[in-house]
């Protein structure tokens, strides 16, 4: 990744733009799936100097999640029409000639992302405001008319058990594909899930990684919801379960934001879908398995030498934490 190559790409995409300069090209830390690069670009267009802060998200050599980037791009473009803050998407580039690997270019929004959950030293007023926006935006996503947004291409599960079964089968397949060794706790959890598949009735747009670590906030408000790469159509309880999962809870606060009961009630009061506690439990168990599989995928890329960044080794150390939650939940 260098400025000349980025400049060449923008020149190819921006008809009528001249004197393109890249004044900043800097990789940010964080994000174990795609590389995130901060770009400050400027050019002359119709006699005016344009300054554009951008983000380039490029596929890494090995990742924790193998996802369809075109799906993510199209979902983000559609999500821009819902009343939730998401970056404007500019280009999806799959030709490796430009930057060696596929990438997306989007607007850069001000704000900082919490490392995992909202830090405990954040003041109470900010925490409450962000918590309110967090549940309200999730409710908005679930209430969105995905058909009207053109998202039927994601494949809506039939009613009944299809939504849960589709996700369970996906993550079980992924577990067997990426595991480097047997994990008896995960195997037990998968068996429990297979024998407790719940039916559902409302199919919604599911973000599938909705958590505080995937939002930006600035001046006490959420400015962007990021990382839609696992989005699909399914059961709204899947997102809510991810948000209230023990793994993302610190100091008794889910996502560092709210106690569990308040998060659930807040989601419902903000216009979210009716909460079914049995389905919620199923998806919390599945969520713990999913997070473990995501971690193991990163470890696999490290062990196979496809990605030598130390964080890919460290993510494996999260698996025992997730297993502790499963042992407690399933009374193993």
């Amino acid at each position: 990744m260098d400025r000349d190559r980025v400049r060449a790409y923008l020149a190819a995409r921006l008809a009528g733009a001249t004197d393109i300069e890249i004044s900043r090209l800097e990789r940010t830390g964080g994000g174990a799936s795609r590389e995130t690069w901060l770009v400050d670009a400027e050019w002359t267009e119709h006699g005016q100097r344009v300054l554009k802060p951008l983000i380039i998200r490029r596929d890494p050599t090995g990742s924790v999640v193998e996802t369809d980037r075109r799906t993510e791009f199209e979902v983000l473009r559609a999500a821009h029409q819902i009343q939730v803050p998401v970056p404007r998407m500019y280009w999806l580039e799959e030709d490796p000639q430009w930057l060696d690997r596929p990438f997306m270019v989007m607007e850069r929004i001000n704000g900082m992302a919490p490392p995992v959950v909202l830090p405990p030293n954040e003041d109470e007023a900010t925490r409450r405001t962000i918590a309110g926006e967090f549940v309200r935006y999730l409710a908005c996503i679930h209430r969105a008319d995905w058909r009207q947004l053109g998202l039927a291409f994601l494949g809506a599960p039939d009613s009944g058990e299809a939504a849960a079964r589709t996700q369970l089968e996906y993550w079980e397949r992924e577990y067997h594909r990426v595991k480097l060794e047997e994990h008896p706790v995960l195997a037990t959890a998968l068996h429990w899930l297979a024998t407790h598949v719940p039916p559902h009735s409302e199919t919604v747009l599911v973000h599938a990684d909705y958590r505080a670590g995937n939002v930006l906030y600035d001046s006490g408000h959420i400015t962007a919801i990021l990382d839609w790469e696992m989005a699909h159509l399914g059961d709204p309880m899947e997102d809510l379960a991810w948000a209230v999962m023990q793994f993302w809870t610190t100091g008794g606060l889910c996502q560092g934001l709210l106690p569990r009961d308040e998060m659930i009630a807040g989601y419902e009061n903000a216009g979210g879908m009716p909460v079914d506690l049995e389905r919620l439990f199923f998806y919390e168990v599945l969520g713990a398995v999913k997070m473990a599989v995501i971690s193991i995928t990163g470890v696999k890329s490290f062990c196979e030498g496809r990605n030598y960044e130390p964080v890919m080794a460290l993510v494996g150390f999260m698996v025992p934490r997730l297993e502790a939650d499963l042992i407690a939940k399933l009374a193993i």
């Binding site: 060794e181 706790v185 960044e309």
Partner: protein
Amino acid sequence: MRPGATELLSGIKDIIFNIFVPELQSEQARAQAMYSSVLIEHLIARWEIEMPLLLEERAELRGLLTQALAVVAGDLGPRVREALAGSENAGGGPKAIDAENERMRTLVPAIHRTLPAKSDEPQTMELDAAIRAYIRNQHRRDKAFVQVGELTW
């Protein structure tokens, strides 16, 4: 012979911090150096506990699989016998012991799934309890690896 393995690792960690890091220009490179140092710290602490934990797991798995032989049916029996025979003379370092443990470990979920959800039969109930105890103990052992070297998440 000195320096020993953990002394060498400590030295490498010091080289990273005292020689490499001051020369690094970017935030990304400094972050990677910090992560690398955390991994080395983990490795130093893990050096002492890895073999005892692997041997403890091996003993427990051998006991569990021997107990399962009286209960399992079909093709699982020969697979259990084969895994037990393989681990009996397994020697070598941590990698070899772990490989033999893995051969036995992979059978645990398969054995567990064959047990009826509810049973009054004593041998079945005891095997179910032993499998659950193994799962909890293995989780404890895995946690021990994660908790050394001051790793926190």
